[in-house]
Symmetry: C2
Subunit: 271 residues, 2 copies
């Protein structure tokens, strides 16, 4: 199935725009799970089981798994195995290199791990992004305007009267011949998010920055969705994963995920 179709189907199946970020920090696991690779897998599986009917997607940030060494690969695989097949999986890797090297990253993300989508950094330009886009059925979320403080350093630079991120968005939209592009836009910039949605038509937006990073749910949901309340991926990680560190962590994670899903839905326009 094509990425946009899978995203829409998963959104409708759960009636949800929520993406749970499985950015599992081994130092924050509930004590009763123990430590090590097995504990992390147990934790991820429990979070997936407790939230799978509430989410449209799961996002794994590869930094958390890379820092576990070779075993991180096994944790990613075991986690992906636990995610029901109709739910979208996003490998958040922010890769990008010269063409032949980007091809190897694309292979790692889409063929070896089998993620439905990944994130890509734009700085190196077209030949660094195209090897990902060429996998027509997989989604490619390219960084446009990020949620962090450092987004002010380069992304707002004045390029012929427009901020850099707008040039990046405009250029990326021109590369979307396979209809599988997405854009990353932080929830911490609601008015820019609205502008980018207007530019991007029905291209999906991955919107991190709710919760710990301070993004406002109402503003970013109103700004980020298409007019029929679709094509947005609202990621939350820490607020859900670590809602409790007791034996009831999965229950608490479910409660937080449900709350955020409903909060998002209450602001979604539906046509």
């Amino acid at each position: 199935m094509h990425f946009y179709e899978k995203l829409d189907a998963a959104t409708n199946a759960a009636d949800s725009l929520l993406c749970v970020g499985l950015d599992t920090d081994p130092t924050k696991l509930p004590a009763h799970l123990g430590t090590g690779t097995d504990a992390i897998i147990l934790f991820n599986r429990a979070i997936v089981e407790a939230t799978a009917d509430l989410v449209q997607s799961y996002k794994l940030n590869l930094a958390f798994y890379e820092s576990m060494g070779a075993e991180g690969y096994e944790v990613i695989r075991a986690t992906l195995d636990a995610i029901p097949g109709h739910i979208v999986t996003i490998g958040d890797a922010k890769r990008g290199d010269i063409g032949n090297t980007s091809s190897m990253y694309a292979k790692a993300m889409f063929e070896d791990f089998g993620f439905d989508a990944t994130t890509v950094a734009p700085y190196m330009g077209r030949d660094s992004v195209e090897p990902f886009l060429r996998y027509g059925k997989h989604g490619v979320f390219v960084l446009a305007l990020t949620s962090n403080k450092g987004s002010k350093d380069f992304q707002y630079l004045n390029v012929d009267g427009d901020p850099l991120y707008k040039h990046v968005v405009r250029t990326l939209l021109g590369w979307n011949s396979e209809n599988n592009l997405g854009l990353v836009v932080g929830a911490t910039h609601p008015s820019e998010l609205e502008e980018i949605r207007a530019m991007a038509g029905d291209v999906p937006l991955l919107i991190p920055g709710l919760g710990a990073q301070g993004g406002n749910v109402e503003l970013s949901v109103r700004a980020g969705c298409t007019s029929d309340g679709m094509r947005a991926v609202f990621n939350s990680s820490r607020g859900i994963l670590y809602a409790s560190t007791g034996e009831d962590f999965a229950e608490h994670a479910r409660a937080e995920a449900l709350k955020l899903k409903e909060q998002i839905n209450s602001c979604r326009g539906r046509s």
Copy 2:
């Protein structure tokens, strides 16, 4: 030892600015080595043994190893183990994420793998780069002007009369309080390389793009070094690794490395 000191010492020890890129493609190994992880490790070790007295540094592009799955980790470790301790090791990963996530990438590169230096993508700004810079003894080469065709897409955008890459360079130089910053500048842009060297003082430049990518040795060596012919890292990968696919591959790799080292040295100004 501080990164700049180690780079200078390694440059002087081999009288060389050459960096061999260990970007090993499993499909291009000499047939007599067989296939699989062991063959790749044998190949990398043989290349290191054949070239260690000719180089200042080795660079491993992580894309090649990530696409091997979990075993790629073991190949990286075994390869690093084979590199004599006085030679600089660069993990070419081009990572970059929000602050707490970049910290995990920095830990993976500097603590887990133990690379002397890494490459970082700049688009996400200061809090994405600083977790790397904070490891004061390790080097951090941030992408400024890359060697690929896609460098034209965003890096030359006109920002208040200057190309974007100059703004990026100027801003990065302001973050170099630990004196461990480096910049990536492609050999395919010799006149821009000269401008960046003038801006950067004695900050090391990692200069890919010789050989397969078409960079000119004489122009880029004259432009990229400091006035005393130091602080430049000239990377070549394919032209050395695959000089022969016969049983004599290591000998041929050595011959190519020696030729390029001497070509570079013949253009180095020494004061």
